[in-house]
């Protein structure tokens, strides 16, 4: 599947010259083509972001409308005085923001490592497509369904939850653990469920990249007596660094926004232990009616994503140049 230009590049331009001949009329037509998109984007993305920023410096408690300007109070409170959002008073720190960081590290690492491992392992067996399909299927499922599936697996009742039943089967003295009910385990339980659903993505991308590595190089290395592991470490892994980076960035961006799976699996509990920023936003805005406070959280989310996206775009650009 080779293509003449790089589809992933953001600013790759169509070749100049000939098109410029079209001059008259084409500019006008261009706007005609993009205007429906511009209208929708303006109304549904641009204007709302501006409005949300306006709301974030307001109390916003009358039917979620701005009515009382409070400056940066919401932000100050969020970052210094809201234990559920960010708690730096004791070690280890806690709060929704910390949970998102936990997700960013664990979820991303697990997806990439597992995805890569499966891509490599599967490439060695004949039933490769079957395995890949099995791992990939959960990607088609709604986070809501994933939450249900895993809530059931984690059930503290050993007559319902297969995890506790299995552990009890191995060690009959085992006390069933309430994986989603305990502060200490709930985050990992939810993260793992979502990893289960998302590893397919990493695997597919990395598997495609893996296959893109020329077999001649590998065979030559084999001839020289290199072991499989050495081949993996010295040849495949470095060549995969770009796809891995791409996958990682994509996963991180998704994780900053994660909501559905936490909402359905634990509602953020117990005691708010599993809340992520999106949950806090939901609760403060729709349970508490604090429109301004929630908007401040949305702005923080936006600020977290921007640098990562910028990094992504810059990398695409630099590639377009070096290739």
């Amino acid at each position: 599947m080779s293509t003449p230009a790089a589809p992933g590049s953001v600013v790759g331009k169509p070749p100049p010259g000939r098109l410029a001949r079209l001059g008259r009329g084409s500019g006008w037509q261009g706007f005609f083509f993009i205007s429906p998109a511009l209208v929708l984007l303006g109304a549904l993305l641009v204007y709302p972001v501006v409005w949300t920023v306006r709301l974030s410096v307001d109390k916003g408690r009358r039917q979620l409308e701005p009515h009382e300007f409070v400056g940066l109070d919401n932000f100050k409170r969020l970052l210094t005085d809201d234990r559920r959002f960010l708690d730096l008073s004791e070690f280890p720190p806690s709060g929704a923001l910390i949970n998102n960081l936990r997700w960013i590290v664990l979820y991303t690492a697990l997806c990439v490592i597992l995805g890569l491992a499966i891509a490599v392992l599967a490439s060695r067996v004949r039933y490769e497509s079957l395995i890949k399909a099995v791992i990939f299927v959960p990607m088609a499922i709604s986070a809501t369904a994933v939450a249900m599936i895993w809530l059931f697996v984690y059930s503290p009742d050993p007559d319902q939850g297969v995890l506790n039943a299995a552990l009890q089967g191995i060690n009959s003295g085992f006390d069933p653990i309430s994986w989603v009910g305990r502060e200490g385990t709930v985050n990992y339980a939810i993260i793992f469920a979502y990893v289960w659903a998302s590893t397919g993505f990493a695997m597919v991308v990395l598997s495609a990249a893996l296959k893109g590595i020329s077999t001649e190089v590998i065979e030559a290395a084999r001839t020289d007596g290199a072991t499989d592991w050495a081949i993996f470490r010295r040849i495949q892994l470095p060549l995969l660094s770009l796809p891995i980076a791409v996958v990682t960035v994509w996963l991180i961006i998704n994780v900053i926004k994660v909501f559905d799976i936490v909402y359905v699996m634990s509602g953020g509990g117990p005691s708010g232990a599993s809340e992520v920023i999106a949950n806090r936003y939901f609760i403060e805005t729709f349970d508490g009616g604090k429109g301004g406070y929630g908007a401040a959280m949305a702005v923080i989310m936006l600020l977290m994503i921007i640098p990562i996206m910028a990094f992504n775009i810059r990398r695409f650009r630099s590639e377009a140049v070096t290739r």
Partner: protein
Amino acid sequence: MTRYRTFLVLLPALVVALALVAAGCGGDDEGSSKSTGTVSVFSLWGGSERDAFQKVLTGFTEKTGIKAKYEQGRDFLPILRPRIAAGNPPDVAIIPRPGVVADFARDGSLKTVEEIGLDTDALTENLSQSYLDLGTVDGDLYGIVVKANSKNTIWYKPASFKQLGVQPPEDWQGLLQIADKMRSEGKKPFAVGAQGSTNSWTLTDWFENIYLHQAGPEKYQQLFTGELPFTDPTVKTALGEMTKVISDENVPGGIQGVLGTDFVTSIGQVFGTNAKAEMHGQGGFVGGIAIGQVNTKLKPITDIDFFDFPTLNPAYKGALMGAGDQAVAFTSNDDVKALMEYLASPEAGEIWAKTGAIISPNKAVPDSAYPNELAVKEAKQLKDAETFRFDGSDLLPGTLGQSWATTLQAIIQNPDKMDQELQDFQSSAEGEFEA
């Protein structure tokens, strides 16, 4: 060829145009709206409770010819708020938290009973003053209490008690002794379901009962209206008693099990076929759910019964903690008026009471309307109560009620962190009570 091209380009433009045209045509009416022959009613009941309310709505339609649509949602606040913000609220909602009603009233989202045109005399005739007070915010009456329940109950299995050779206890010490006895026989005395954010209210009920009976109605009211801090020693004492009951040895699966079990499952732990525990300390509606959903073979009084919440301080014996749901109106028109009137009437109260799902706050509903002795017992409790106090966590403003439940979840897990948890909660409470 031309037609195909044109079509391709025009289609998306057409859809966008349609949307804007719809905007132009739509009229937005903030005042009273026209009756349409249908009223929408929103609440959070599902299962057997929903079926029971449906009967009331059917009665309404038969009487007035106006159709009523029941709408349901798991988390009612995240459903109501966006709808209000979008100018699209249900006509009527039945809300279990007076704190939320107050929020919405002050928001300007609700219509007062006067605005709708209800007859306030009829209301004062049928509802006692404490119920009317509940629905009053800043001097105006917004909510009509249509459903009441007592939380002054602990449910048990008479057969188990007989086997153990004990009688329902009068006081707290008695209860603890029974629990000890049960443990010595290898049984778990209590079942509690406090999972996540949707079931944590069970802990708040336990605390409120203990606090009310130990510290008294006055302190109770002060605590939940922001006049008494949550760091007060009386709070700690009550929590100490609570952790004596909800402890690792007393419940199936220990504290972790409690936090991983939902409310209905916990009822099943006591009254289901595969019973794991003996007593259940939640409100009067447990009976309806136990018989209606968990184990339809249960016979009231013989298989399942309740005793009054035991006394801690004899001075407060007559105090009763309960809750109630209020009907409030977001829009004002003839259909809504008819529905609110109907819900406040003894007729509706009787139909509803017959289902066994509720106790009616309406004075004119006779005892005979209740389907079984358990309901009659509960109604009697409500009527005979010397002092009535509303469920504390429902009185708290904003998200404070939910926060309190979360704090309790943390406390039963780490009782030694109690002071810290209470302090943190108090500081967030102060912020809420101010706003």
